[in-house]
Amino acid sequence: MLAIEVGDLLETAGRLPMHGGTSGGALPGHPFFGAGFLFIGSLMVVEQLAGGVWSRAYWRRLVWPAALVMAGAGMLIVSYLQPDSKSLHLTLAMLLLLGGYTEGQYRLGKISRNSADTFAIPALIVSGFVIGPMHANGNLLYSTMAQMHLLVGVVAWILAAVKLMRVRFGPTLALEYSFASGVMMLGLSLLLVQQFHGAH
């Protein structure tokens, strides 16, 4: 009896819209951006764990802003190549490039964390709207891909909330780890978008 139930469960699971790695003709941008953010988020967790050891190599301090600039450049390429949603991709590209610049200024000691966050918080909120509700093509109730896009937007809003809490309560280790884990979550949510890409 148990074997039949497990068999039914597997059969039902097999009917779920899971098509990882097939973009249906569209550019497979999501998984590469997802892997990039997962990688950089993991490095940010490592940065917190390593403490001062991380700063021994000067270039390591600039990993996060450099990643944002690279993501911005990648998004510029996507907005050039992708036939649809050009304005949305271009907006994201500009936000990523400006975010990379302000984070770089902070890491180089030219501006304070609060000054950098003055740009980062609104940028994350706007990005959440652009990636989530505006880019989620499809019915949010029925389209898995639209729901996954919304998840990416929600993660961006969570990151903005963590930044806001940092401004309100000051820097704490918990908030630093939360932000780094949030960037990892952003990467994971983009990978999930690709996983469900065939479901739209």
């Binding site: 597997l10 699971a13 097999g14 779920l16 899971m18 098509h19 990882g20 790695g21 097939t22 973009s23 497979p28 998984p31 590469f32 997802g34 892997a35 997962l38 990688f39 993991s42 490095l43 967790v45 490592v46 764990l49 390593a50 403490g51 001062g52 050891v53 991380w54 700063s55 021994r56 902070y106 000691g109 030219k110 501006i111 304070s112 964390r113 609060n114 000054s115 820097p171 990467g187 990978l191 999930l192 690709q194 996983q195």
Partner: protein, 102 residues
């Protein structure tokens, strides 16, 4: 947190991601999309989320294992994070309290 634990977490982050990617791939091909195992494309192999997660874990391991060794050999002073750039527009805590008391 002890430096040994920090080093262990740093060293295990990459392998943990790789393991998650392997589990994801096994679930995809073994449970969710069993019929597609015979129709794998190059696009799927290159841009499959599970495969990219494994690749990310591999790259992370290559970078993080030397850092884990450095952390394991570091002194507690070296593990302390460098201070942030102070914000000139921000009052120190005591001054803010004194301002509020007026």
């Amino acid at each position: 947190m002890t430096k040994q634990l920090r080093a262990l977490l740093i060293g295990m982050l990459g392998p943990a991601l790789q393991a998650t990617g392997v589990v994801w791939d096994l679930l995809e091909h073994g449970v969710f999309a069993r019929g597609e195992i015979g129709n794998l494309t190059l696009e799927h192999i290159v841009s499959g989320p599970a495969h990219l997660m494994m690749a990310t874990g591999l790259a992370l391991s290559a970078i993080c294992i030397p850092i884990a060794l450095q952390v394991a050999a570091a002194s507690p002073e070296e593990l302390a994070k460098p201070e942030d750039v102070p914000d000139e527009a921000e009052f120190p805590g005591e001054l803010r309290t004194a301002e509020a008391a007026k």
